[in-house]
Symmetry: C7
Subunit: 71 residues, 7 copies
């Protein structure tokens, strides 16, 4: 059994891809998270069909996250 | 009586099909879940009318899941 | 007084029709449910105007269900 | 003071009109409800501009209900 | 300090105008409410641009209410 | 550190501008609020591109509020 | 591990960029927040494609925030 929280811990300091409820896709290095799956990403990039936008360090609210894929 | 949680336990290490609130359909091997029905899938694939996208290992937030169908 | 939970218990092993928030209509044999009205259906079919899709055994998240009609 | 719950109790075995969040209007005999305002209706009919659809006995999830009007 | 609950108590047996999340506007005599701001209105009228619809006695679910204006 | 609640207390009896989830903008004198950020405004005005509508005394449900700007 | 709350504390008195659920982007100096991630910003500016709007001091409700990027 791989608990979701355990996989998040294993993904610390690795890059992850987040899909948000509004359809945005973010990629960044996971450097922290809390019990509500709020997360802190570093070197975050938002990739859309047109371009890549660099966001740097970002706090993401857990209730806007649909899926988290460690790379 | 087959409790939803019991069926999830029985589906461990089997492939399941998830329907998400945003209409996306994911298929992958269920390797973990928690009390909020957050799930961990392996060898995940997203199938749309146009194509299949390989997502690998993914954490899904339970509150975005509409239905779970074990294969 | 017919409590909603009592009617669910009486509907066990009978076919029920579910209306989901996204407008989908599912029909299947109710074989389990929990306190959050998460449900397990067997021999589930999704009926749309165009066709019937067989879904087999399905876990439905209670917070996506609008109504449940025992047959 | 007429508490919402008291009015629901007084409406038991009477017909009520429900407005749901998705805009649907249901009418049926209220035969039960619980603390979450989940309700059981009998002889339920859904009335749209085009037609009346008979739904029989139905469990309604309280969090989809906008208003309840006893007849 | 006028607490929201205090103003509701002071509005008892007076007419209030409710704005609901779906944009509907209701006016009626407030005859009861509970801790979730579920309300009971009497002589309720729904006013749209085209017409006035008489709804009589209505239970409103608090989580669908945006604002309450005592008259 | 200016806690959100502290700023609300300091804004008592001053005019504030509220942005609601449905995009409406209200301005009024804040005369009360509770732990859920339900608020009571007096001399409330709703300003749209076309006109100003006087709403008088209004209870606002906190879960519909996006932002509060003291004047 | 950088907990989301710790990063918020470190961002105190620095400018942050907020993305809200309705797509709006706000930038301001973070001067306070609470356990629900309600925040207080000073010298807040809303930037859209057409213009910059000065909002001054603003309380933001945490459940409308998608992401927070310290500058």
């Amino acid at each position: 059994m791989v608990m979701p929280n355990t996989l998040l811990e294993q993904s610390m300091n690795h890059r992850v891809t987040l899909l948000l409820k509004d359809g945005r896709v973010l990629e960044g290095k996971l450097v922290g998270f809390d019990d509500y799956m709020n997360m802190v990403l570093e070197d975050t990039e938002e990739t859309t069909q047109e371009r890549v936008r660099r966001l740097g360090k970002v706090i993401l609210r857990g209730n806007n996250v649909v899926s988290i894929a460690p790379k």
